[in-house]
Symmetry: C2
Subunit: 638 residues, 2 copies
């Protein structure tokens, strides 16, 4: 248990009614929101501090003075709306919305919990007008909203916050010209230009060059200001309101982690920013809150007001546990081993060097590491060009992004019959905290149908090396390696040596009454535990088979594996449509098997929450699986 | 039969050895290539004349003097390479490559035929270094090639031709900055700035603004010239070769259809360009060739040479037949009817107004028609914004593009639980002429797994209206309407009135020995004919069922439909993975049916060719289906 501090609503009301000028009060308000945002992140165990803090002076000013019900719109206009295109600054937005009473204050205790506040914005939350978290879509979304309002006879002033790393996405530039051509002056984009993205300084990852010249060349009005000085922003917005027919971009110079001295910028000697995502430890939290509250108190003191009174609350530490199987770490080692053997291997990354386990490779083979920035389409087509020139590219991002953003580029590469290995981490339902933009549960459907491509998912640290070896050297086709990122206490072992065969699975638990088939450490661990419970509680003895192949199946193996069995259960850490389970069931029909079958998979947009909550909601946790399997087993015996 | 003219290789050799200056000879060569390119398009029955002609002076100069084996590369450099990112100018490239002997001359008689020259570039063809046809990927591909060459100690000068409409794709802008930052001076991009795209003037579809300022803002060297004056281009390229560390873009001002007076630009009073794709009639062909050859002859005469001697050849007219079921026309009418009923309907298009059947809508409801240009990601996210604001967006492109380029945007929209209807035309294997970039056979896998979305494909003109009505008004979810574009002589009728039910099919032919399930006019027509042949030739009486639902199935209906039947055949105008057939087979396993099954689907990258050739190659034509079904039926009886 940890004791955390947060500021109750009453303190915001007290500070908000202070006599100071509106700019000073907005800065005070933003610091108070910083304290509550970091409280929310600590309590959730994860969240993006750096970007939340860099944007909070902007978000605070907009909500106190520009959007929602706070300003009277000109005739024919609606109340202005606001949303963040990057979305991972959501804790800051929630801190603001709860502080001003647009969102139930009690929700600050439930970030990234089921029924609470999602890790990235969702339209189910008041004040979240669109779903974001997948980068680069915000300006397009705003265009659609504004055009729709116009069609309905209204003008809808719309503020969109973007990141600066986000500007690497092609969709940003795809969206700009049309807004200028159609004179969508209702749109104001504010770039939270904090100069740091996931992989380090934006200028080093993919230098954006002269941003002002770029936006201007696309026909936009451009302004620039200090993003931590509300007066500067307010003055630009006042001026802009008089010219309503050209969209405006404000490049707001900000500091990542602004407000807490030791969270500002990249620490001396480090390559990465220390507070991009994840929650700090309790000491760091306390130092940060001390600094924030001290500054707030000093400001209140100048106004003749009492210091802030924070509330205390004891909560469990929800940061990622130590231990468990970490597939990404195993991948990291295996990739370096392969690269030693084959100098055709070149690694491409889209701003996720840490999460994709690429730091060891980048340090050991700097010439063979290509940092592409947040530009998945460009990355995948570059990989295509490299493969045509004889290299063996290994291409990385989160599974949700890698399978979707460059889907057409992956397909085009496949038509060239070259060999490329795609590696998607953060696969599946969990972690459940970031929400549906990051929960990759449709990646198999997209990669699985790419002609010639083999999709595979290891279940265990020991499986990663052999499967990567197969992907790189075992067959001529391109491959998709799907990696769960959360650490898992995998309760089963694989045979040693583990020699996977394309289309065939490995028994990880014996049992004569039926067979459970699935892939990956999360579901197989749940299935393994469910099988044990069923044996113990109901005498039902199920075999559990690790089938790492997501889109290839050896029909003879399947026939032998299921011959005479009483029940086949297929599990997917994925939508039922286009997943492995559907392939297995179709194959059972093809081989003429007549066995009772049961499928459990994700059937709706994933919920956001703690990992255990999310698995339980989708009935993919061990207890739900055991219950549901028992029900089907009893029916099929009848 | 038509009699066509082309210029034999010997005439190119004769003209090429003429004494004139190299610029004049290049212009003569380009006109001769225009004559052969239009011959190839006429013989194929389709192809893109306008863009082929606008680019041919550039492509000719590059191949005669800059790329391939014709120039001595500087030390440490390879021979320069060239490719077109837009790809639909392929007939011009083939005309050049056959004329200079880099490609077997006889191939000019086999454009868009199986074993001949594909409609868009494919790496199997000498001189085609990468697969294109899907827009916006070329610069990224070049970056990968150049980086790969550098890693292998070489400099690879690379020329990439793009369209100007193509610059609307976000990937273009996503790719530019990295090339400048990494100082990839080996890359020269030439923009074939012919000012006309599929939907009309580029400046009207989506005005690109100041292209020079835009490229310069992304750190590129920018030059501009008349793209029909080789001397101007050569002088820029000579100058650029001395500065090898900044990538260069040459904006080449060209004329769409250049070289034939009545094909140049958009005709008076027309909105669309008349020669974007498709072959003209024989009279137009003859007038065009007369004009080209007359100009060539005049040039030869100035050089003191004899006029050109064209060869004559009789060929069948392969242009699209008149008649047959045209689903896109039926859609066009149905959409207007729906729009009359519901003023929330708004239509979005990505530069395919004619092919998607949107001209009547755009004329009748100009305020509710949004032309997005070649910007599918922006279009889909705009639709998302419109849906959030209460409109009912109907979003259009070719199925190959709509399912892939904006896959993540479609997914994000789905998580907002709004209602959007996506309409993809040009679905499936045929037309087989454009090649794999345009043959949409993985769209169901992508759309099918979008949470909540219903994917549906009409088989008959009479089905289009009722299914569109269901998509718009029959259920709350978003929908994907998949439309075959080729006219089909559909041999079956649907019951009148046709009242489709979600997840259930309609019998279009009775039969007691087994059942064939499939969707769409192409495969159902082939299946219908195969079933007739099997009854007549083998006494095997198969029922044929039109199952328009691609990702939803009513299990009770399926159980009743297949109960007691001897064979179930599932057909997909799509890859087997992620298609309708896999869903049906999985459902058969789930309901515990034990029936011999057979699946026929696309199993490899689609071949390019005439429609009959392509269907036969993939064994989805009536004759192959009858043979293969008979084989399975005989085995399953045994």
């Amino acid at each position: 248990m940890m004791t955390l501090r947060y500021l109750p609503r009453s303190e915001f009301e007290r500070a908000g009614s202070a006599p100071g000028d509106s700019y000073a009060l907005a800065k005070l308000f933003a610091d108070m929101c910083r304290a509550n945002a970091i409280y929310m992140i600590m309590r959730a165990g994860s969240g993006h501090i750096g970007t939340t803090f860099s944007s909070l002076d902007i978000v605070s000013w907009l909500h106190l003075h520009e959007v929602g019900a706070v300003v009277d719109p000109p005739e024919g206009s609606r109340h202005p709306i606001y949303f963040s295109s990057k979305g991972h600054d959501a804790p800051g937005l929630y801190a603001v919305l709860t502080a001003i009473g647009r969102l139930d204050f009690e929700l600050i205790h439930a970030l990234r919990q089921l029924g609470g506040l999602p890790g990235h914005p969702d339209v189910s939350i008041p004040g979240s007008v669109t779903n974001t978290g997948s980068l680069g879509m915000g300006i397009s979304k705003a265009k659609g909203m504004v055009e729709a309002a116009r069609l309905q006879g209204q003008r809808l002033p719309t503020f969109v916050l973007t990141g600066d790393g986000e500007l690497q996405e092609g969709q940003i530039w795809e969206s700009l010209q049309g807004a200028a051509n159609r004179r969508l002056g209702e749109i104001t984009v504010i770039v939270d230009h904090n100069k740091i993205q996931s992989d380090g300084w934006v200028s080093k990852v993919s230098n954006p060059g002269d941003l002002e010249a770029k936006f201007a060349a696309f026909g936009w009005d451009v302004a620039r200001c200090d993003g931590h000085e509300p007066e500067a922003l307010a003055s630009i917005l006042r001026r802009a309101r008089s010219e309503l027919d050209v969209p405006l971009v404000v490049i707001a110079d900000t500091v990542k982690g602004k407000g807490v001295s030791f969270m500002e910028g990249i620490a001396e000697g480090e390559q990465l920013y220390g507070f991009h995502s994840g929650a700090p430890n309790i000491d760091v939290f306390n130092r940060a809150v001390d600094e924030l509250l001290d500054r707030c108190d000093a400001r209140l003191d100048e106004l003749g007001l009492e210091p802030l009174r924070a509330e205390l609350v004891g909560v469990p530490d929800r940061r990622e546990p130590v231990g468990g199987h970490r597939l990404v770490s195993a991948y990291s080692r295996a990739l370096c081993e392969q690269a030693e053997l084959d100098n055709r291997i070149v690694v491409l990354d889209a701003d996720l060097v840490l999460d994709c386990g690429l730091i060891p490779f980048a340090e050991r083979f700097p010439d063979r590491f290509v940092e592409c920035g947040i530009a998945e389409q460009d990355m995948v087509s570059q990989a295509g060009g490299m493969a045509l020139e004889g290299l063996l590219p290994v291409v990385h991002s989160f599974a949700c992004f890698l399978s979707a953003r460059p889907a057409e580029q992956v397909y085009t590469n496949a038509t060239e019959r070259t060999k490329i290995v795609y590696v998607g981490s953060l696969a599946g339902l969990v972690p459940g905290g970031p929400g549906h933009s990051h929960q990759a549960v449709s990646d198999i459907s997209r990669f699985g149908a790419v002609p010639g491509l083999v999709a595979v998912e290891p279940s265990h640290e020991d499986a990663v090396g052999p499967l990567l070896d197969l992907c790189l050297r075992g067959f001529p086709q391109s491959a998709y390696l799907r990696l769960v990122s959360v650490p898992v206490d995998v309760p089963f072992a694989l045979p040693y040596p583990y020699v996977p065969t394309l289309g065939r699975g490995t028994t990880i638990r014996e049992g004569g009454d039926g067979v459970i088939l699935g892939a990956g450490p999360v579901l197989l661990s749940e299935a393994f535990a469910a099988a044990h419970a069923l044996t113990a509680d109901a005498g039902l003895d199920l075999r559990v088979v690790d089938l790492p192949w997501l889109n290839h199946l050896d029909a003879d193996w399947l026939a032998a594996e299921t011959d005479g069995t009483g029940l086949v259960v297929v599990l997917d850490n994925h939508f039922s449509k286009g997943g492995q389970g559907q392939m297995v069931l179709a194959a059972l029909a093809s081989i003429g098997a007549r066995i009772p079958v049961m499928q459990r998979a994700v059937e709706s947009v994933p919920v956001c929450g703690r990992n255990d909550e999310v698995l339980r909601f989708h009935r993919l946790d061990r207890r739900s699986l055991a219950q549901d399997i028992l029900l089907v087993a009893e029916q099929s015996v009848r």
